[in-house]
Point group: C2
Chain length 745, copies 2
Amino acid sequence: MINTIWWIVPLSALFALIMAYIFFKNMMKESEGTPRMKEIAQYVREGAMAYLSRQYKVVIKVFLVLIVLLAVLAYLGVQNPFVPIAFLTGGFFSGLCGYLGMKTATFASARTAHGASQSLNKGLKVAFRSGAVMGLIVVGFGLLDIAAWFWFLNDIIFSPENMTNGLSFLGLDLVHAGTDEHAKMIEITTTMLTFGMGASTQALFARVGGGIYTKAADVGADLVGKVEAGIPEDDPRNPATIADNVGDNVGDVAGMGADLYESYCGSILATAALGAALPGLAGDLQMKAVVAPMIVAAIGILLSVVGIFMVRTKESATQKNLLNALLIGTGGSSLLIILALVVLAYFDWITWGVLGSVISGLVAGVVIGQGTEYYTSDEYKPTRGIAKQAEQGPATTIIDGIAVGMFSTWLPVVTIVVGIIAAYGFSGGFQNFAQGVYGIGFAAVGMLSTLGITLATDAFGPIADNAGGNAEMSELPSEVRERTDALDMLGNTTAATGKGFAIGSAALTAMALLAAYMEEIRLWLGKVPEKGEEFLAVTGLDSLKDAGIKDFTDFYDLTIFNPMLLGGLFIGAMMAFVFCAMTMKAVGRAAGDMVDEVRRQFKSIPGIMEGTGKPDYARCVEISTKGAQKEMLLPSIIAIAVPVLVGIILGVAGVMGLLAGGLTAGFTLAVMLNNSGGAWDNAKKYIEKGNHGGKGSEAHHAGVVGDTVGDPFKDTSGPSLNILIKLMTMVSVVMAGLTVASSLF
Amino acid sequence: MINTIWWIVPLSALFALIMAYIFFKNMMKESEGTPRMKEIAQYVREGAMAYLSRQYKVVIKVFLVLIVLLAVLAYLGVQNPFVPIAFLTGGFFSGLCGYLGMKTATFASARTAHGASQSLNKGLKVAFRSGAVMGLIVVGFGLLDIAAWFWFLNDIIFSPENMTNGLSFLGLDLVHAGTDEHAKMIEITTTMLTFGMGASTQALFARVGGGIYTKAADVGADLVGKVEAGIPEDDPRNPATIADNVGDNVGDVAGMGADLYESYCGSILATAALGAALPGLAGDLQMKAVVAPMIVAAIGILLSVVGIFMVRTKESATQKNLLNALLIGTGGSSLLIILALVVLAYFDWITWGVLGSVISGLVAGVVIGQGTEYYTSDEYKPTRGIAKQAEQGPATTIIDGIAVGMFSTWLPVVTIVVGIIAAYGFSGGFQNFAQGVYGIGFAAVGMLSTLGITLATDAFGPIADNAGGNAEMSELPSEVRERTDALDMLGNTTAATGKGFAIGSAALTAMALLAAYMEEIRLWLGKVPEKGEEFLAVTGLDSLKDAGIKDFTDFYDLTIFNPMLLGGLFIGAMMAFVFCAMTMKAVGRAAGDMVDEVRRQFKSIPGIMEGTGKPDYARCVEISTKGAQKEMLLPSIIAIAVPVLVGIILGVAGVMGLLAGGLTAGFTLAVMLNNSGGAWDNAKKYIEKGNHGGKGSEAHHAGVVGDTVGDPFKDTSGPSLNILIKLMTMVSVVMAGLTVASSLF
């Protein structure tokens, strides 16, 4: 039976969803403003939904193929039989979050613009609460999925009767007769761990597809509209302008949400699996260790909601006031969570060590976020240095921006390393390795415990951006535009820190998954010889059945000297670079298609430039959608296939190398791409404020080149690496059975 | 006593030096041409020597500091007492190679130009044979240093009497009384291994300083001369033009030579150390295992000289003919080496497994070189794609170039991985780990066995480039310039493949050093408690003296899960990025100083633009020299200090992570930087040939931006990473005693 306090987990998940619904309803009560505002919002909404429905069609096809594959592997005895179904639920909920979050965002933009026409605080409130819908949906559905599966496996599948009699389904052995309680919990948690792959796969398409879409539309709109036709940004005469606004939602709302949904579930599930495997724990203590990460997450949800209510500002707010308003919300949530956990620790529900690990993760998240701000904000030296270099032309702008991005990696890397070691140490890793890695899992859970509110600050950005676009296209008074601009700038800052948060949490989650991968391998080493009769008979491995392999450490050389492992490390580092190359090239090609289409419309639609002919917005949305769908397929297949191939060819050691190499090089590269891109963007804006010659100067031209190079850096390739890192690990976890089976050759 | 066949080692080293001297003398017999040609050559020569003497002054200071440090550590018992002296000899010979090679190159340029005025073949021969001087000096001095130390340690220090009575010097225990023959050879080889650090440190300054110098001069000369003043490249009125020509020698001759000198010595020494530690070998067999890598290198030298004589061409040679002429030389050498080793294997002097490993390395070198050509030559799709993107402006040029560089990493990475595993497997690694890593060492030795001739093709490039500059400034007839241009283009191709070869061999050498690092740690684990009485007493570690630690694998957790190791991996990857950032920034600053100086001279020297006033070349050389010296210090200190600090803080596991992370991420990043830079360079040249609008078109402007961004990529930051990778490993090897001592806390 599950512990009573555990019920806080499903309840807080439901609470998050109810609050999300209330925020949504309140937002919908606001007026969308003038008919023109409604019309534009409607275009964006239609475009976003058109994109999503198309993406989901591709995702469904890929899911079907993967489910069949997983089912075949399950039938052969080298895959957990629950995985094909759980794969679906993870993917479904992730997709649902994207759908609802985007729907909310696209409903909110005109309302934010209208709110801003009343007051700045009103605009902030509408946009932020709408962003909170996304944040709460993600944590709500994430935790609900986890809670439901945990209850289902623990109370239904592994019911006392089934544990006595065993349970089979379609010839697959679901519960062994005579399973003991300890083994049961390990079985449940390692099974649940593999559920994350559905979320991972859907996140891959959302992040990569969304990233390609948004930049193809952005670059396409800018190149022809701003540069060739000389019309301003967000001008309704530009056929790509709606696609551009759609892109903000597609990339920054749905893509970011799916990314963090995956981290959220992955970190909780990995930590639970590590908790179940803690040596020397049994019965209630083992149960406590398993549900502890879920409970920390549940508390995080409740206090994130409190934080959301703390965000408000006064009318004459400066940029600093606005930023402070958000900081009070996120910082307040963090502090409250720590306080709540102190109480839990005091009542012995978690150890003080776990508390230390959670705090390590929370602090690391804050440091990475603030560090990102230093290297990308125009208030500090690095970005201003780039702006100064712009005086000497585009080449020096590019070199300096790349150097800034590369140099900036030191801070997040050192923070993650210190965070990992602190979390390991607090939980007693120097005495007991397993407890230490359990602590690393809690660092990830801790960092993500505030996700309800941090994601709200993220999703806020594109809503404010779209509100600005809406105000521009609807020709609202300039004071409204000024207010939406203030909100938009705030959104740019939160987007940069949000990217730092996303990659930081991806790294910690991948670390936890990496540790949990061991458990999966350990389990399969016991299982494959026992369970995979058919597979073993087919492959002639049945002679190994009685080999009596007890532990993977007896069996695999996982020291850093093993050439298989080193080979994996090389391939992991290379994967990060090749994946980036592919996504960058994809943006280039998709943007090229968009440029052709916009040029075609300018030529063939009469009166388009005079505002009498109506541009075909939908066509541009479709072009960008098609391009994104086409281009995301190859990198996606590679990201899924390489870990499987490395597992088959280089074995478990090779996979460990691949994951560690992909994680370390990918993290560093992602930070560099995010920060270079962010710094170029803000350097350009700094020049536009009138520095180094201002708009139209040589420096400005150079700054625009930097910004254009930075676009795919920070919005496509960099964020896509988060997914690559986690997905490769998740695929390895799910394919552990196959890897073990092939390593027994 | 050393085996008789071993004497081929010092003899072939001397042979290389004699041949180098003969080539040098023959070259000096050629005429330097007109007085004007002599004058210009003289300027370049003076500039190059001024640079070198200044650099050596800095290097000497750094060496003095490091020697004192090493001596103190030796006195405390955590450093090998020979290291301070050997550190000097390694550095001295490396520096000597740079000095002699540069001297040769600067004497050869005018003679090449004069030779080209007679015939293309004559020009090729003068330039190539002069390049061969550098190649032969490097392998000659490298192997001579190794042979001398081996003889000195084996026959003098570890003489039978000393082994019976023991040997002390200044209170330091050099030979234990009663050391057995087996332990003696391990002691000798691990001692020799640490000699590489002198070469490493000198290489660091040569590569980083040279890289900064050459690009500061190049960018400075171009920005003011070509862009602002509108005078052609290599125009004698440009004060920075001599500095630019000096830079080619400083970066590509001295820098490249020092880099490969280090790889050459490091790979041989590491393999010897791994050979000595092979389990179950004693007496003659152990001796054979130790000297085998030296003998392979010696054979490589002899057959490289044969290859050098095979390089010749006919008068009407096309670019392809010229390239073939070089290929016949390098390919011929490789084949002859393989044949010779087949004979050795047949007579049981090396195993067939070792032969397989050597071939793995040789083949990997060729594949990486040719792959580099594919991704950077304008005859293939990637570079042409960049040229096409240039039509759409600088931003897309940059994005596409970065994508090409990133994508191109797959080939060298896969090649290295396959090469490592093949070398490991051929030498029996799947049965016996130690034999496998010994095989990996031989892959490195194999790849570098042709160094005598491959370095000749490398050093040929800057000589031809300078010959072109000399012809231009001396206003020689256009047919001469055409011939030197043909040679220069050939030099550009060999420079690109040479960079691939340099990074590939750096990776394999670092792999071998990484494996040898274990041996060093193993040795120190035995020694620190025994020998470092004072150190242990001071640090309170003497209680550990009798801890009875036998083997590092009992003591250190070197599995990939250890958070210390993972932390090291993160830091290693980050080091590659931060080091790049620092060198890129350095180029920017040094180039800025140069721009200011050239502008000043254009303003203040009367008649300079009319050719009546004489520009102050020496001042520009000095500016660039000063800038390079100043800027190389900080990255150098970091490269040396970080491995030491990581060793003290994170221990042996952290160091292993650092080295593996730096190696894998650094290798991938270096390939990307080299190939992006090379592709941009050739894309620009492809446009200049009249494609996509040709010179002066929009596409050309964009191409120039790409080329300028690529300059520090391919000539400063990329090549510097070779050194970073090897130096961090070498520092760790040398500081193994300190790491072990501090890990005993």
